[in-house]
Amino acid sequence: MELSFIIEKFLLVFIIFIISLGVAAYATYFERKVAAWFQDRIGPDRAGPFGLLQPIADGVKMFMKEDFIPKHADKWLFILGPGITMFVALIPSVVIPWGPPLELFGKTIALQVTDFDYGILFIFGVISVGVYGIMIGGWASNNKYSLFGAVRASSQMISYELAMGISAITIIMMTGSLSLNDIIAKQHGMNWNIFYQPVCFLVFFTCALAETNRAPFDLPECESELIGGYHTEYSSMKLGLYMFSEYVAMFISSALIAILFFGGFNFPGMDYFSGNTLAILGILVFFTKIFFFIFLFFWIRWTLPRFRFDQLMHLGWKALIPISIINMLITGFAIALYQGWF
């Protein structure tokens, strides 16, 4: 392996890491701003111009707080929980293609840390591990509210992963490949999957809300019933990691939705550009799509009330899974018909 290759990948990882964290930090700020606007308020505007330094102030506050571990908590698992959650939230970004290849110093640099043939499978596998972070944290706290939150989180994530996986399979069937690059290449220009699979998109988006524990599916941490849910006992930057990983997960799932249904970095009229211009435009388009979905997440959160737990289970098992299975079967028949199997 060449040194330049290692440096290139290392830089890419570093940049993606910084961007994910930066986007997540400013997502907290914009969430508060958007929430304020929805409620006819102004939102944070004291720290720096327009309150732009608010995430930094929040971070400093989080670090300065007392780092408390309850006496009867399982100390090592208690520390491990937020770490796992944050790690799992960050790791899917390695397979996400952030833009068309960039040409720099006479080399073609793929804006993707690693191109697995099974990229989407990798993402789903990693996201499923995310439930362990919450489960371990909730269990190790030795607190009934934490345990309730953890149990709710795990049952919710398991239920919604099925429908999410089946809708992803529908897209994979249409593409014929598990690689995210192939999925994006298939949606060249304006040929986006959303126009073929609107129902699939709705199911996937609903499941993405549930997977990231966002309202209206924020039952694992509902303040009004469970105090803080699985992070009741957490304080200081451990709590910060839990909260932060929620925003990172939101960023990554927005990117995934943009790739699977909205063509990733594809945009209409992209054939007129080439080389670095295309790459930069592609990155901008991709991030615009991501930010739109992050805004949609906020918008839904500040509009809808929380589901009751039985309603959540009804929706997951009795509505979303049958819909996604029927949708998958119809897609299968349509593909078979199209390829002349009958």
Binding site: V34, W37, F38, Q39, D40, R41, I42, D45, L202, W299, I300, W302, T303, L304
Partner: protein
């Protein structure tokens, strides 16, 4: 039955129709409502930079007035302390010395005069009780503090400075004694 408004809705628990079951129309409706609010600006007053207009008779922080020659009006009679329903006012009286003629108007004066701003309910009864037109409530706001003790205001904070007289004419009172 007579209805007061036409917005009354009869609550029923009939099973949901298909359109209601798929939630989407209601969700989109709700999101349209929140989006309309996104476009609207609120009524927020950014307080320290921007003040709401005060009523002319606003009852805020107290002032102990001086007369035209700069002498303190207060004679430490204690009527304000008696009138105070929150028992926020305490004072210790002292006798005026010959050399202090220019400082205090009456023969007796308040050596210590304290108002506990945490107890005060800003009712203005001290102002009504005062026979010497010494204490008035003004349109100033008691600032926030970090310690409770800071809220017990002594004479240093209450008596108006000689070079910076407090205007109380808005309360339809000159603070000038008629006698």
């Amino acid at each position: 039955m007579l209805t007061l408004t036409n917005r009354k809705k009869v609550v029923s628990d009939k099973p949901m129709t298909f359109m209601e079951k798929i939630y989407l129309p209601a969700i989109v409706g709700g999101m349209v409502i929140t989006f309309k609010h996104l476009m609207r600006r609120g009524n927020t007053v950014k307080y320290p930079e921007q003040l709401r207009p005060f009523a002319p008779v606003y009852r805020g922080m107290h002032v102990l007035k001086r007369d035209e020659q700069g002498r303190e009006n207060c004679t430490a009679c204690g009527l304000c302390a008696v009138a105070c329903p929150a028992e926020a006012i305490t004072m210790i009286a002292a006798e005026r010395k010959k050399s202090e003629m220019h400082l205090y108007r009456e023969e007796k004066y308040a050596a210590v005069y304290e108002i506990n701003m945490l107890r005060c309910i800003f009712c203005g009864l001290c102002e009504e009780a005062c026979p010497k037109e010494a204490i008035f409530l003004t349109d100033r706001i008691v600032p926030t503090e970090f310690a409770r003790g800071e809220f017990i205001y002594g004479k240093d904070q209450l008596v108006e400075p000689l070079d910076n007289r407090i205007d109380i004419t808005k309360r339809q009172n000159s603070g000038r004694r008629t006698k």
